[in-house]
Structure formats: C-alpha cells, structure tokens
C-alpha cells in the first residue's frame, strides 16, 4: 500500500523544483511503479509511442553519473522517458517524430514533478547527455530515442534545493508584445 498525500494542484505547481540532493534510501518498486504510471498517463498523441525505463540498479545509476554529464545528483532511481521513432513515424509522420513526441515527454515530466510531491519524492529532469550514452546504458534499440532522464529519490526540507528566482516567461494578450494583465498572480 502506497502512502500518498493529497496535493493541491496549484500548490504543487508552486512548489515544483529540481532536486539534486536526495536521501540515501531506496525508492520501493511499487512507488516507482506509481511514478511510471504518472508518466504513462501524460498526454501521448498516439498509442505505443512512449516507453518508460524504470531504473533502480545501483550499478546503472553509478555509471549514469559518469556517462550522463548532466546527471549531477545522488538519486537512487531514475525514469528514462523514450520515444519509439518507428511507431511515431508510422502513426504521425515526421512532425510526430521531431516535435509532438518531445512535447509529450515534457508533459510526462510535468506529471512526474507533481506526482513526486504526493510521495515525498523529488525529481530532476536531465537532458545533458549524448543519446548514444543513454542507448548504451539501458540497451535501447536504434528505433527507441531517449528524450529525458528523470532522477527520482526521497527528499526532505533539509535536502531540498532553494527555489530558483528570476526565471521569467513572456505573457501576451491576443498578440505578441501586448501584455496580458489578469490580476491573478
């Protein structure tokens, strides 16, 4: 039985952040399964395009810290979100391969960042690596493209990174450059 906390979605969005320091304890398989479910439930334009590799082998994780230069954390687990290029191409064409499937992987990352908070977990999305390294690490066949690796582990207030300040997004009203003012923020 998984002990999950309720989460206000807006509060979860506000608290969302990347974690790079995790507690030194494993994440049970059933909890990782819950995270994998969250990733699988994210938008996917066509069936069978997304593949999720759940990683909790300490040897693989230790190697990841060498061959994935952006994987700078001590996470005891990882989810690798991948795209079946053949399936994407056959069902949606080149745009599905190069554009839509990457958006869908990003949506899965957002699901993971929210689901993690219900399980006392933290995540860190990492894309700074060469595809060939991820393929070699997890035995991905040529038609499976790694899109993003997500570090997963337990976090506490003590291990949490401070919130990053100063990141901005453009917000426009009806036309680019016209400010949108709704008073909600």
């Amino acid at each position: 039985m998984i002990d999950a906390k309720p989460l206000d979605v807006a509060d979860g969005m506000r608290r969302r952040r990347m974690h790079r320091i995790f507690e030194d304890r494993p994440v049970p398989a059933e909890v990782l399964g819950r995270m994998a479910w969250a990733a699988a439930r994210a938008q996917q334009a066509r069936s069978g395009v997304r593949h999720v590799v759940v990683v909790d082998d300490p040897v693989l994780l230790a190697t990841a810290r060498q061959v994935l230069p952006g994987f700078l954390n001590n996470a005891p687990a990882m989810l690798a979100l991948c795209t079946d290029l053949d399936q994407a191409g056959a069902t949606g064409g080149p745009r599905m391969v190069e554009h839509v499937s990457r958006l869908d992987s990003g949506a899965a990352c957002a699901h993971l960042a929210l689901m993690a908070q219900t399980l006392d977990l933290g995540v860190c999305t990492v894309t700074s690596w060469a595809d060939e390294a991820v393929r070699a690490l997890f035995g991905l066949p040529a038609h499976i493209r790694p899109d993003v690796t997500v570090a997963v582990g337990y976090v506490t207030k003590e291990t949490a990174s401070p919130a990053v300040r100063g990141f901005t997004s453009g917000l426009h009203h009806n036309a680019f450059g016209a400010a949108f003012e709704d008073g909600a923020r």
Partner: protein
C-alpha cells in the same frame, strides 16, 4: 597493485569517462556549459585528490559547490565567479611553482 592504487585507478577511469561523454555536448550546448563540464570534471579530480589534504583544493571544491548552480540560474554571475576561480588557481600555481624552485 594495492587496494589504494585500484581505488585511484577506478576513480580516474570514471573521470576519464565523464570527460569523454561530455565531449559531444560541446557541439550541442552553450560554451558556458562546456566550461561548466570542464570545471565539473576538475572538481571530480580534486575529489580524488582529497586524500592529499590540500587546503587550497578543499577550499576550491567548497567554492565550486557554492557557485555551480549559477551556470543554470545566472550565467553572467557564473562567468564572473569563474574568472575569480581561475585567477585563484593561477595565483596558487605561481606560488607553488616558486616554492618548488623551478
């Protein structure tokens, strides 16, 4: 080969792997991130040297730990910090070279 030698060899091999696997990222990421990858590898090497009880390197590692996130959050500040970091290493290298009488 002693156990210590084996440990050193393994740690160096891991850092070699980090450097090799970082190389292709230089083609796809910003120059600043390439600089970060080099400093990260240097930090790993300093970690391997931690047994040598070098106070300068210990402080250098702490300095990097305090500022590494700037590469993601404030690139200008990271660049400024990196300049000071390099200056510190250069000054230290000069002191050590003089001390060795070269």
């Amino acid at each position: 080969m002693t156990a210590a030698d084996e440990g050193l060899s393994r740690a160096l091999y891991e850092t070699v792997t980090v450097l090799v696997c970082s190389a292709p990222l230089a083609l796809d990421e910003t120059r600043l991130l390439s600089a970060f990858r080099m400093l990260d590898a240097a930090d790993r090497l300093m970690g391997i040297m931690a047994d040598h009880d070098d106070d300068f390197l210990r402080r250098a590692r702490a300095d990097f730990a305090d500022h590494r996130m700037l590469a993601m959050t404030d690139q200008a500040a990271f660049t400024d910090w990196m300049s000071r970091y390099v200056a510190g290493f250069a000054a230290q290298a000069l002191r050590r070279t003089r001390a060795e009488g070269v």
